[in-house]
């Protein structure tokens, strides 16, 4: 036998050990399993007694439970966001921004409408737009232009 080989299937000693094991397994009589089954029937809990552990041990049940959990969390999050938006539009930044953009678009459309004949309203809106534009320009000058470019803009 190769001494470096931990498991040698051709080793006669291992074959003899296997034969001894077989003889021991054959030692009980033919009623052995039935006696065990009777002992189990006395000690076993009533069939059909499922517990959460048994359900969770099944892969399909685990998968379904995971999907249900993720769906529930997603639905809860969606419901929470919608509820919050309905209660306080300003609380949701994206929603508030969208409303602002809609408002500006409406203003722009009203200004550019060729059918508008209310000159007073047009004047007021033009002034409002003027203020808005100057504010925007100040913002651009402060934040985006370099000091040199801002000075050039002032002098130019």
């Amino acid at each position: 036998m190769n001494e470096q080989t931990p498991h040698n299937p051709t080793d006669p000693l291992e074959h003899r050990l296997d034969a001894l094991g077989a003889s021991l397994r054959d030692e009980p009589d033919g009623m052995f399993e039935q006696r065990l089954a009777r002992a189990l029937a006395k000690a076993e809990p009533a069939p059909g007694r499922w517990s959460i552990h048994h359900w969770l041990a099944m892969p399909a049940v685990r998968l379904a439970a995971s999907v249900a959990l993720v769906s529930a969390v997603g639905a809860g999050a969606w419901w929470g966001l919608n509820t919050r938006h309905a209660a306080d539009p300003a609380a949701l930044t994206l929603a508030a921004l969208t409303e602002d953009i809609d408002h500006w678009l409406d203003m722009d459309l009203s200004l550019s409408s060729p059918f508008s004949t209310d000159l007073g309203a047009l004047d007021a809106e033009a002034r409002a737009l003027d203020v808005f534009a100057s504010d925007e320009l100040a913002w651009w000058s402060d934040d985006w232009l370099t000091p040199e470019a801002a000075r050039h803009g002032e002098t130019g």
């Binding site: 931990p6 003899r16 001894l20 021991l24 052995f32 809990p45 048994h54």
Partner: protein
């Protein structure tokens, strides 16, 4: 695959030096059988008993208990198994055999201790004495000598021999049962075989049984 010549004997097991990757030496349970057994499915229990009952018996019997006590312990192992499965205490998915034989090992050890406390005539060489007292069961002298030599092995050496050859566990399952790498199980098995071989070569001069853990 290269042709098998007269110089290359047919090889059915792992090649020398390769680990034993076979899932099990004995039969394996069909998938979900343990889950069904846990809820008391009689068919599943028939499968479990048909697959493991005699292997557990042989394992317990080889630990030094007589035939009657071995059957009692085997019953107790499966009753414990059913109770723990019903209570959802089986957590080692895919390691059922390791769990089962760990329970069996503990039960056999407890029974041996109990009998020693009660001064019942069970000791590490009971396995050997059984072979002498019951010649009908040891029809071959060779097997009787082998039983005697196994009985003289230390506890750890005997356990790995018995798990491998009588309980038919794979090295992977033995390693899982003992919480050790597969390589360690292979090496321990190899050393136990060497000791057994020496005992068989010089049965008269063999020393008295070593208490335990001889293959540290």
């Amino acid at each position: 695959m290269p042709p098998v010549t007269a110089r290359d004997p047919p090889h059915t097991g792992p090649r020398p030096g390769e680990p034993d990757d076979a899932p099990e030496k004995g039969d394996a349970l069909p998938p979900m059988t343990v889950i069904h057994a846990a809820v008391g499915d009689p068919e599943a229990w028939r499968t479990v008993l048909g697959t493991y009952a005699r292997r557990v018996y042989a394992f317990v019997r080889s630990r030094g208990l007589d035939a009657h006590a071995s059957e009692e312990v085997t019953q107790s192992v499966f009753v414990t198994l059913s109770q723990q499965l019903a209570a959802g205490k089986y957590r080692e998915a895919g390691r059922f055999e390791a769990w089962l034989f760990r329970v069996a090992s503990n039960r056999a050890r407890d029974e041996l201790r109990r009998r020693r406390r009660q001064a019942r005539p069970v000791d590490p060489v009971a396995f050997d004495r059984d072979a002498e007292a019951e010649p009908a069961r040891a029809q071959e002298d060779e097997l009787a000598a082998l039983r005697g030599a196994i009985a003289r092995l230390g506890e750890a050496d005997r356990a790995i021999i018995v798990l491998r050859h009588h309980a038919q566990l794979s090295f992977k399952q033995i390693a899982e049962m003992n919480h050790e790498p597969v390589g360690t199980a292979l090496a321990r098995h190899h050393r136990a075989l060497q000791k057994l071989r020496k005992l068989l070569e010089s049965p008269i001069a063999s020393p008295s049984p070593t208490p335990r853990g001889t293959d540290a």
